[in-house]
């Protein structure tokens, strides 16, 4: 029982990070038909911006969070205007955009490597503070930070998507771009807000990943495949699905360590990804329809 609770705490921490990354990846995939392989590197950049603010400049962690979120959101917006919008105007295909995003991923990752080097970095947080809840169940200060931050932000995002006009428009566009457009949705504006949302959540996820694990130029890239798995699990294009898919994946990975070697837990994520694509490509939480 204690082991189940401990793995659940671990799973909620990594799942929260997956979910934050997955919402943006899924919305961009659904709305812009862009399989963004650079999304993981957006997260890494968020981590390093936080590192620059929090460690190099010695400012408080809260400032680092805000700085990282703003920086990555701005990057998302700049790239939309510089690359993605012009490419869409030329009628680029989904594979062309995907390969372009792989090139972009190389560029961002290696510019980070150029600027900050390859060694492990961490943020200025207390690595050792933890509390024994009861029995053998413990939770670290880092896990509290990650679960609380991710939880609050995910609730806010879910509410935003459900209640606000822009949130509803995003979901509508992801469902059917053309139908939403003829219904009078201002697609330009929604696309901009989508990038702002995807970028800021990726930046936040990157900071949390830097706190929860270590920060290297590959941090985001290693997170990207599990995040793809979360997106597929929730049904591509569905923001709620991505949220639930991320948390589910985090829990499944950690629970699996009760039965198999912990070093295989990443492989569990990929196995889930393949099985879902083969058996239920609309995702666990998606509805069957022609895609």
């Amino acid at each position: 029982m204690d082991e189940l609770l401990n793995t659940t705490i671990n799973g909620l921490s990594s799942g929260g990070i997956y979910a934050l990354g997955a919402i943006g990846l899924s919305l961009v995939y659904g709305i812009l038909k862009l399989v963004n392989f650079a999304h993981g590197d957006f997260m890494t950049l968020g981590g390093y911006v936080a590192f620059a603010i929090n460690v190099s400049a010695g400012m408080p962690l809260a400032v680092a969070f805000l700085g990282a979120i703003a920086a990555v959101a701005a990057l998302g917006l700049v790239l939309e205007f510089a690359i993605w919008a012009p490419m869409r105007r030329r009628g680029a295909g989904i594979m062309q955009l995907m390969l372009l995003s792989i090139g972009l991923a190389f560029v961002i990752r290696n510019m980070i490597l150029f600027e900050w080097g390859g060694e492990d970095r961490g943020l200025d947080v207390d690595q050792f503070q933890s509390w024994n809840l009861f029995g053998d169940v413990t939770i670290s200060a880092i896990q509290v930070t990650v679960i609380a931050t991710a939880g609050v932000v995910l609730l806010l995002v879910a509410t935003m998507l459900r209640v606000t006009l822009i949130g509803k428009s995003m979901r509508a566009l992801s469902d059917s771009f053309d139908l939403a457009e003829v219904s009078g949705v201002n697609t330009r504006r929604v696309v901009i807000y989508t990038w702002l949302l995807a970028g800021s959540l990726a930046g936040l996820a990157g900071v949390l990943a830097a706190i929860y694990t270590t920060l290297t130029p590959n941090t985001g890239w290693f997170l990207l495949l599990p995040i793809f798995a979360a997106v597929v699990l929730g049904g591509i294009g569905s923001a709620y699905g991505a949220l639930l898919g991320g948390i589910t994946l985090g829990l499944v990975q950690e629970w699996s360590t009760m039965f198999i070697r912990p070093t295989y837990k990443e492989a569990i994520g990929f196995l889930v990804l393949i099985l879902v694509l083969i058996v239920r490509p609309q995702g666990i939480f998606g509805q069957a329809r022609t895609v």
Partner: protein, 312 residues
């Protein structure tokens, strides 16, 4: 030593390019001819390399090990293809990369068999002795060769042979059907072609060519590490493919030499920077190259625009 003049250095770079050329020829068959975007191609190279390495370290003859390695890679292609080839192109791409990562994680974990992160040593078996025999033979007739030359020649002869086989296949009805599948799957199916079977054949053949690249990679590097088979290897392969041109076998050769020179051939340039920073800049250049080609010339240097199908 001035590396510009050092023959051994360039032999190293060009051997590396030759391994990549074989690897990307297999990728070209899948991506260029059949329209299968396989992001997990490196997994089949890993199957070939580790199958050969495990057999020769267990005293199996290299002449038996190599065909088994190629067959194992082809079997891996079938195994992956049967459940996944029915998926949409973007789903297929993501599935293949995930499958490749599962294999790599398994190689890391099963270290009692594979050596894990410590590496699989002496995986090239008797190659070093054979190489010495070849060098002795040539010095016996008065020609002193650099010790890297035999593999360089062998890898490029093989690459050219594989290329010629693929060009020959290009004149057969078989590849005409593959290209028909790439152009319009439904039309090919309506014309009575067993589309799924053709895709599966292309994937199996492409995978065994990747396995062959794995065999040469093993001869080249002697010790195998799981980190040699990360997805980035496939992505560099894609950079070669799209630089040379989707559908062009000649482009593969040009692309692999250009990319190999960017990746390792620029080591002789005396940058006023740390080695790490220069390494990072190389991949920035490759990334920018991929982006520029996709944005301005998606058919690559030698590809034909009308043959380009990059829609899902």
């Amino acid at each position: 030593m001035d590396p510009l003049l050092a023959f051994g250095f360039w032999a190293f770079v060009l051997t590396f390019a030759g391994v990549y050329a074989i690897f990307v020829l297999g990728l070209q068959l899948e991506v260029g001819d059949t329209g299968l975007i396989n992001f997990g191609h490196v997994a089949f190279m890993a199957i070939g390399a580790y199958t050969m390495g495990l057999l020769v370290t267990n005293d199996v003859s290299i002449w038996i090990a190599i065909p088994i390695a190629l067959a194992a890679s082809a079997a891996g292609g079938l195994l992956l293809g049967i459940p996944t080839l029915r998926l949409r192109a973007d789903y297929f791409a993501i599935t293949t990369i995930a499958a490749g990562e599962i294999l790599r994680i398994a190689i890391v974990n099963e270290q009692d068999t594979t050596g894990g992160t410590q590496g699989l040593r002496s995986a090239s078996g008797p190659w070093r002795d054979a190489n010495n025999d070849i060098l002795d033979f040539f010095s016996g007739i008065g020609i002193e060769l650099d010790r890297r030359v035999p593999l360089l020649v062998l890898v490029w002869v093989t690459a050219v042979l594989v290329g010629l086989v693929l060009v020959y296949l290009g004149r057969t009805p078989w590849r005409r059907v593959l290209r028909a599948v790439r152009e319009d799957e439904d039309a090919a199916a309506a014309a009575g072609k067993p589309v799924f079977r053709y895709k599966l054949q292309a994937l199996a053949l492409g995978s065994s060519i990747a396995g062959l690249a794995g065999v040469f990679y093993t001869l080249f590097s002697t010790t195998l590490f799981p980190t040699n088979f990360e997805p980035i290897f496939t992505f560099v392969g894609f950079a070669i493919l799209i630089l040379g041109g989707v559908g062009s076998y000649f482009g593969v050769v040009v692309g692999s030499v250009v990319i190999a020179v960017i990746v390792s051939g620029t080591r002789f340039l005396d940058f006023p920077l740390d080695a790490d920073k220069v390494a990072a800049l190389r991949f920035v250049v490759i990334g920018l190259l991929i982006m520029a080609i996709m944005a301005f010339r998606p058919q690559g240097l030698f590809g034909k625009k009308e043959e380009l199908h990059l829609d899902a």
